[in-house]
Amino acid sequence: MTPILQLRAVKAFYGQSEVLHGIDIAVERGGMTVLLGANGAGKTTALRAICGTVRREGEIIFSEHRLNGRSTEQIARLGIAHVPEGRGTFVGLTVEENLRLGAYTCTGTPHENMQRMYAYFPILAERRRQQAGALSGGEQQMLAIARALMMSPQLLLLDEPSFGLAPLVVESIFALVERIRREHRVSVLLVEQNASLALEFADRAYLIETGYVVSSGSAKALADDPQIRRSYLGY
């Protein structure tokens, strides 16, 4: 089966400086792929390159579409949902308005999808009329994921869902993402610092260091690699 997303020799730039130096990544249809690496390695930039929020070169192919030259909003409309670093919540709007915005690209009423999200994340149903800025960190992360899923995406890009959250909350969010991935057949590309947790849930992994892919393979193979264990898993 062809991958749902392919990056070929992708470079990305902030202003004049090149941050990604030609990386190749493939995301299997229906699978969960994780990008691992230290702070500043370029993981977030890789996601931003896919969505076109940074300047990029090289080839990015999603299903049968070439993403090069498309604007961020066009890419979203193709069915790529991005939960960005910092969650991208509209803090001044209510929980329900945030979810409605997630379904902005869909025609028809978002009601059914919203009920599904409330079933996955009951806390959001309780807080639907509250300002999103008043939610706790974990609740905001759930809201961000729910908002992304409202567009019924084919591919979900998740940037550090564990950031700033308590370990138990992180576990439950990962379990939910895994469940949603299976039930909705949505492919996931995950960026994560918490390598041991990510390798537990993902089926493929890429290790990025200073803008290069230095290692890749099945999540299990990477988890067993002694050097990766020492540098990233700490045992």
Partner: protein, 289 residues
């Protein structure tokens, strides 16, 4: 007592007009963090369009609606052609562009319509009501403003486009990730602001007479209103505009010669900036680093 109430009511009618223009300023400020110094002159130019249409024999409300539509499209065009190129430029560059727009519209109106005062018809008869406590004109102006506010409120609260515009103003990058065309939302915002300004211009013109400099004073009051309300708050802009209208009227009647009315607005601006820079309802912009 009777005179006091009378002054308050006519102050509210004037304040309603300032409130509309203040609202236009706030809309653009929220969307682009830009104070549009040309808002008053755009409104003045719209009023000339209405005047032309009325003189061509159109019924008043027909001319009113056409003017709003033309202003909406004109506002969108201005955003596309003039503002977008300086979108990422330093804020001062954008401010200078709006000052340039102010001068262009002022000169253009003077060139096309001349600088002589023109009489502008009022849609409302000027009859005293409730023992001369207020006039039908005051009531009419306030009613039109309230309708505009209600329509705007419903648009932003209940429509998907309104929601998308709020989202785009709040967090443009996130809005793009949701598939929202942020540039289009900004253009619609400018269009709406221009249309609201047109309402203010048309409502104020019968009282002030129409000339290219008609809105300069009104814009000053609208600025004051927007600042009192906190430049980021639409509700604040409306309340601020009303406060300015009433204050201006009362101070002009009881305390000082009415030639000094503008000074009142300037003093209010200074007081707000000194003691409550975020206004009554504004929020300080906090950046998390």
């Amino acid at each position: 007592m009777h005179q006091l109430l009378q002054q308050i009511f006519s102050g509210l009618a004037a304040g309603a007009i300032y409130a509309s223009l203040a609202l236009a300023l706030v809309m653009i400020y929220r969307a682009t963090n830009l104070v549009n110094f040309a808002q008053g002159e755009m409104a003045m130019f719209s009023t000339y369009i209405a005047w032309t249409l009325v003189n061509a024999g159109l019924p008043f409300w027909g001319a009113f609606l056409i003017t709003l539509a033309v202003s909406f499209l004109g506002g969108m065009a201005i955003e596309r052609i003039v503002i977008r190129p300086v979108e990422n430029a330093p804020i001062l560059a954008a401010v200078v562009v709006t000052i340039g727009l102010l001068l262009i519209f002022n000169s253009l109106a003077g060139w096309i319509y001349s600088y002589t005062l023109q009489e502008f018809p009022s849609p409302f008869p000027d009859r005293p009501l409730f023992g001369a406590l207020m006039t039908t004109r005051d009531i009419g102006v306030i009613a039109v403003t309230l309708v505009v506010l209600a329509v705007l409120f419903c648009f932003f609260r209940f429509t998907t486009t309104g929601l998308a515009m709020r989202a785009a103003a709040q967090n443009p990058e996130s809005a793009r990730l949701c598939g929202i065309h942020v540039g289009r939302m900004l253009a619609i915002g400018w269009g709406l602001a221009a249309a609201i300004g047109a309402v203010a211009g048309i409502m104020v013109a019968p009282a002030l007479f129409l000339d290219p400099n008609m809105m300069s004073g009104v814009l000053l009051y609208a600025f004051t209103g927007a600042l009192i309300g906190g430049i980021t708050s639409p509700v604040g802009a409306v309340i601020g505009g009303l406060i300015v209208g009433v204050t201006e009227n009362l101070v002009g009647t009881y305390l000082i010669a009415s030639q000094l009315k503008f000074t009142v607005a300037l003093i209010l601006i200074i007081l707000v900036l000194l003691f409550r820079p975020n206004g009554l309802f504004g929020t300080a912009i906090v950046r998390r680093v």
